[in-house]
Amino acid sequence: MTDSEISFDSQRRVHQASAVAPDAPLLEIQNITKTFGSVISLSDISTTVRAGQVTCVLGDNGAGKSTFIKTLAGVYQPDHGQLLMDGKPVTLSSPRDSLNAGIATVYQDLAMVPLMAIWRNFFLGSEPTKGWGPFRRFDADKAKSITRKELSDMGIDIRDPDQPVGTLSGGERQSVAIARAVYFGARLLILDEPTSALGVKQAGVVLKYIVQARDRGLGVIFITHNPHHAYPVGDRFLLLKRGRSLGDFAKSEISLAELTGLMAGGAELEQLAHELQRPGSEGPEGSADAGPAGDEVSEAGRSMLRDSSTLGQ
């Protein structure tokens, strides 16, 4: 009962302050390496995150995305390399450390308890209290009104904060989790595959919230395996494959087509496209979620791109 006696107000940092120097990197990740026994999960990974920008981390299954997140979230400590927050080296030895540094992680499993009301979930682990000593109690009115306000600020329309989280749709849940992280003074938001379990429309909604968070001056790390979700919102792209970096690009340095090609492994993609191609026919023309595909890909490659966005889900 005595855990985290840090007062409620000190936990909630003022995140607007982070928008002061937009050019200085918020977080620099320098040559991070992490091994588990003889397995190299991450090898020499570097990238930067700036306030008000989105850094996308792309990779297929087994690329090391989860290890990467958990290193930033304080669950794992890197074997080599360092993290610089505002230019100063930081050690994140627990999830709590990471939270205190202003890094909030929205996990794929959402870190929300389905049977509990939205407002209880919103403040879980950082409940506001009122009263003193033995009469210190969970300030439910405050929690409810803040929950409602924060959600409506994000453009999320929740009828009733008493509703169990389990009754929300996947996109709504993701949005609540993002709103929660933003409220609790996150300066850096790590989103672990927030769109992967969602339909096209719901994924679009979540992408909008990512942009919202970015525009509020937060640095965002957006983990995904879907370049079509990453490219429209991303400012920087780190590609991982089997624990290694395939490159760390600014948006100006890479097109969606190149990104997709790199992710699927270029030649492998074309090979696969050939294998899948029906003899004497080409894929159907035009698709809503194909995005602004570059001109330099072949027709077969482009149809592959379309498919990859659905296959990936």
């Binding site: 999830p95 049977l115 879980l124 682990g125 209290t129 409602r148 008493d162 389990g166």
Partner: protein
């Protein structure tokens, strides 16, 4: 709070009062209690007389006091199969230390409380440390304590009971606190009923209006998610097991102080009754959902049925059949109600 709340109220106005009630986990048990009450009241005059009420409230309070921590623990995602036998351990420890080892009864009470807290800590620590189901861990403590209760009692007293606590100095005030009766229209109501109501209110407050309560829901609902957002799930679990043991201390000592005597086998089998009360009261077996008030109502149903069968002149051998049927009925009803309630909110 001001504008946002008003706007929010408008938006939730379409959730009807009935549905708001249905969402409460204890709703089903309240209906059940009402049915049982009306049923036995029509069957028997004694049941509705003051002495009858005093009697079934007494039965209910013994179960109900333990149902408070057992419900909290179940909402927190765990069972304590040793909850019943621990009441015996607590009473026997106080009795043996006072009447055989010459410790003052107050000192014995303090020592036995520390002992119980240690047992609760052990239960909680083993569960959180090993990650094994609490069912197995506390089955171990259940059997272990059962052996210790009988073994130590026989060793020390050469009998299977500890008695004469009512002869020690300082007994009188204890009797007033733990075992006195309050007279209402000529009939004695056990003070334990008052403690039961008080502790149910406190337990419910703890669950619904404190940070700890929020952590209890979260720990039972999804321990991984809770850990990720910084809820100390391990410490919450240990605290719940210790709370259960502290209540066992209270109930066990109430027994020995009220009667002056306690049997070595006392409490064995009761652990399941506590769980039944919690489940009838709407606690989800898998954790994360439930109510302390509901558990109290579950205990009330248990008390009314046990005494009601006797008052109605039926063969009390069949009592457990009723409890079993009621448990199944309650679980089914709760499930239906919860599904309906959650659907209605979409």
């Amino acid at each position: 709070m001001t504008t946002a709340a008003v706007r929010g109220d408008e938006r939730i106005a379409n959730v009807s009062v009935l549905r708001r009630l249905l969402v409460k986990p204890e709703f089903g048990s309240l209906i059940g209690a009402l049915v049982v009450l009306v049923f036995f009241a029509t069957q028997s005059d004694v049941f509705r007389s003051t002495s009858g009420v005093a009697n079934w409230l007494d039965t209910a309070s013994t179960v109900g006091l333990m149902a408070v921590p057992v419900a909290l623990l179940m909402i927190g995602g765990h069972f304590d199969l040793s909850a019943g036998v621990q009441t015996g351990t607590a009473g026997l420890a106080t009795g043996i230390m006072t009447t055989y080892w010459g410790l003052h009864v107050y000192a014995s009470l303090v020592v036995s409380l520390l002992l119980m807290l240690a047992i609760g800590f052990l239960n909680g620590y083993l569960v959180t440390r090993t990650g094994l189901p609490s069912f197995i861990i506390t089955l171990g403590t259940f059997l272990g304590l059962q052996g210790i209760n009988l073994g130590v009692t026989k060793q020390v007293t050469n009998t299977v009971q500890v008695s004469n606590l009512d002869l020690v100095p300082g007994y009188r005030p204890l009797k007033d606190i733990f075992g006195s009766t309050i007279s209402i229209s000529g009939n004695g109501f056990q003070i334990a009923i008052l403690w039961w109501v008080l502790f149910t209110a406190l337990g419910s407050y703890l669950l619904l209006h404190t940070r700890f309560g929020n952590w209890v829901f979260a720990t039972g609902g999804d321990p991984n998610a809770s850990k990720n957002v910084g809820v100390p799930t391990g410490r919450t679990t240990i605290a719940l097991f210790m709370l259960t043991s502290a209540f066992a201390w209270f109930v066990g000592n109430t027994q020995i102080i009220r009667f002056g005597t306690i049997q070595a086998q006392v409490g064995i089998g009761q652990e399941l009754i506590f769980i039944v009360a919690a489940v009838i009261g709407g606690c989800l077996l898998t954790g994360g959902y439930g109510s302390v008030v509901g558990a109290a109502v579950g205990a009330l149903i248990f008390g009314m049925t046990q005494q009601g069968i006797v008052y109605a002149g039926w063969n009390s051998d069949w009592f457990k059949l009723f409890v079993g049927a009621m448990l199944l009925l309650a679980v089914l009803a709760n499930q239906v109600v919860r599904r309906y309630a959650e659907q209605s909110r979409r």
